[in-house]
Amino acid sequence: MDELRELYQQLILDHNKSPRNFHVMDEPCESTEGYNPLCGDKLTLYVKIEDDVVADISFVGSGCAISKASASIMTEEIKGKPVDEAKVIFENFRDMITTGKVNKEELGKLEVLSGVYKFPSRVKCAILSWHTLKNILDNESGSVASTE
């Protein structure tokens, strides 16, 4: 049980209970829905981009502790970052989540999720909000992002 406790450490439990940037955002903004067909959980992500920078970001939705914490930490880490940089972080995050390899400098607080790769069926939980973000950054807002 230790590996799991480690994963669900205080930070995740905290973000699960009090997710940051957890609200609907007023227009004008981009928004898109993310869907995990394995469990049926959904979230909606809102992003305001100004001068190629993620000026504001928020989300709502239901999901497991991992998906909620992952979305919450994502909003904290991405807010204020240039779009290009956000895309690089997405790549690094995906690598970490699937392989466990951490690139400390760039991932910051996201590192608390590095243990997820040991639980293959939960990888989709952690990456759901990120796929949704990616959809928006790639200008595909409005479509539903799926973790499949």
Partner: protein
């Protein structure tokens, strides 16, 4: 009374070194296989593996005899009039689809109604949505009550002369509720509707008499009753099988083929195109023999009593909510619950760390989720190798989880 520890020793999976403390509570999804089933498969592949219905040689005749003897055994097990009523499929889902294609598409027209319930498994729902779409028929739902039972108070509203087919689950795979199918069948027949029963859960532990029930179709899966994966059964009344068009077509289901047209083989072969799932059917025969040797009534009694114990113990866990299983309800073997506001997948993940296997999710019953306004539940489902200690392990692990998460 059945001794689950003795029974457990017959299931090789529990003596595997990595599984010695496995508490398997995902039985509504699939069950473990007793030694006799695994051995029967071995025996087939290692002694008389051959195609059926064709070969004029020793092992081919042996394979055919074994294969066909299972048809007889199943007819006896569910009290069908004849082995002609037994069609082999790959599972409940295919059995239901067979009826949706071969019976419903032929017999339904715009204005007709198909009646299902809000507690159907997707496999007894989506095929009817599609059949309704394609024939212009309308799909109607018998609602469920907060207690997780069918609300039959307004049945006349749903069941009327337009109703051509009633498709209902015998026992719910999410709530454990056993539906009063005999009553519904009789009422449906009064208005001239046919009735299909999804028996995937019920047949695994309770004795079935299709002749007495008088249902028109009954569908179930082998893998949920200790048989191999990849085999299921469709029981149907003989006149229906005779009237129905074939479903899959190809080798073995024809009487003759010319370049212009073909004529069909007799029932049930008309519905078994291509090389059948020979080993799986033979393995299912061994599973049913195991059930008969154990005694279906003893199995039912044991599971019902263990379910009661489990419910009492689970209710003692702080913040745990069980769906269905009201005090007066007829329900058993399957228990769905939520643990405070902890997401079911998180709960299942923590249970897994204690080597306790449950399911989390919508259990292929999204309309039930809608009803309770939830997106998923944790489901523990019991079978004959589950012990009172398994229940204690479950409850203990749930308690640890809630302590950790709050």
């Amino acid at each position: 009374m059945l001794d689950p520890n003795k029974i457990k020793s017959r299931f090789p999976i529990f003596s595997d070194s990595e599984n010695t403390d496995l508490v398997f509570l995902d039985n509504a999804s699939t069950t473990q296989k007793p030694d006799v089933v695994v051995e029967k498969l071995n025996d087939f592949y290692s002694r008389y593996n051959a195609n059926v219905h064709r070969g004029i040689y020793r092992i081919g005749e042996l394979a055919t005899m074994e294969y066909e003897s299972v048809r007889k055994k199943i007819a006896g097990f569910i009290n069908a009039k004849s082995e002609k009523n037994i069609v082999f499929t790959k599972g409940t889902t295919e059995s239901i689809n067979l009826v949706a294609y071969s019976w419903a598409r032929k017999n339904l027209s715009p204005g007709d109604e198909i009646l299902v319930t809000e507690m159907e498994h997707h496999s007894n729902l989506v095929p009817w949505q599609l059949a309704a779409q394609q024939t212009g028929a309308t799909l109607r739902y018998i609602p469920i009550t907060e207690a997780g039972e069918l609300d039959l108070s307004d049945l006349e509203k749903y069941l009327n002369s337009k109703t051509k087919l009633v498709a209902i689950v015998h026992q719910s795979n999410i709530l454990g509720t056993i539906n009063p199918v005999k009553k519904i069948i009789d009422l449906a027949h009064n208005v001239g509707a046919k009735v299909l029963i999804d028996g995937a859960q019920y047949i695994t532990h309770a004795s079935l008499n299709v002749d007495e029930l008088d249902c028109d179709f009954y569908a179930f899966s082998g893998h949920k009753m200790m048989g191999p994966t990849g085999v299921g059964v469709l029981y149907a009344k003989q006149v229906l099988l005779e009237e129905m068009d074939p479903f899959l077509s190809g080798g073995d289901m024809i009487l003759s083929v010319s370049m212009e047209k073909s004529t069909w083989n007799d029932i049930p072969y008309k519905f078994e195109a291509g090389t059948p799932n020979i080993a799986q059917v033979i393995g299912l025969g061994a599973a049913i023999q195991f059930i008969e040797d154990t005694g279906i009534d003893k199995i039912d009694e044991f599971i019902t009593s263990l379910t009661k114990t489990a419910i009492t113990k689970l209710q003692s866990v702080r913040g745990l909510r069980i769906y269905g299983h009201g005090p007066s309800s007829d329900s058993t073997s399957v228990i769905s619950f939520n643990l405070a506001d902890i997401h079911p997948h998180d709960v299942a993940q923590f249970l897994d760390m204690d080597n306790i296997a449950v399911r989390a999710g919508h259990h292929c019953t999204q309309p039930v989720m809608l009803k309770y306004n939830i997106s998923s539940t944790v489901r523990a489902s019991l079978y004959i190798y589950n012990t009172p200690q398994d229940i204690e392990r479950l409850v203990g692990s749930l308690q640890k989880t809630i302590n950790f998460m709050s």
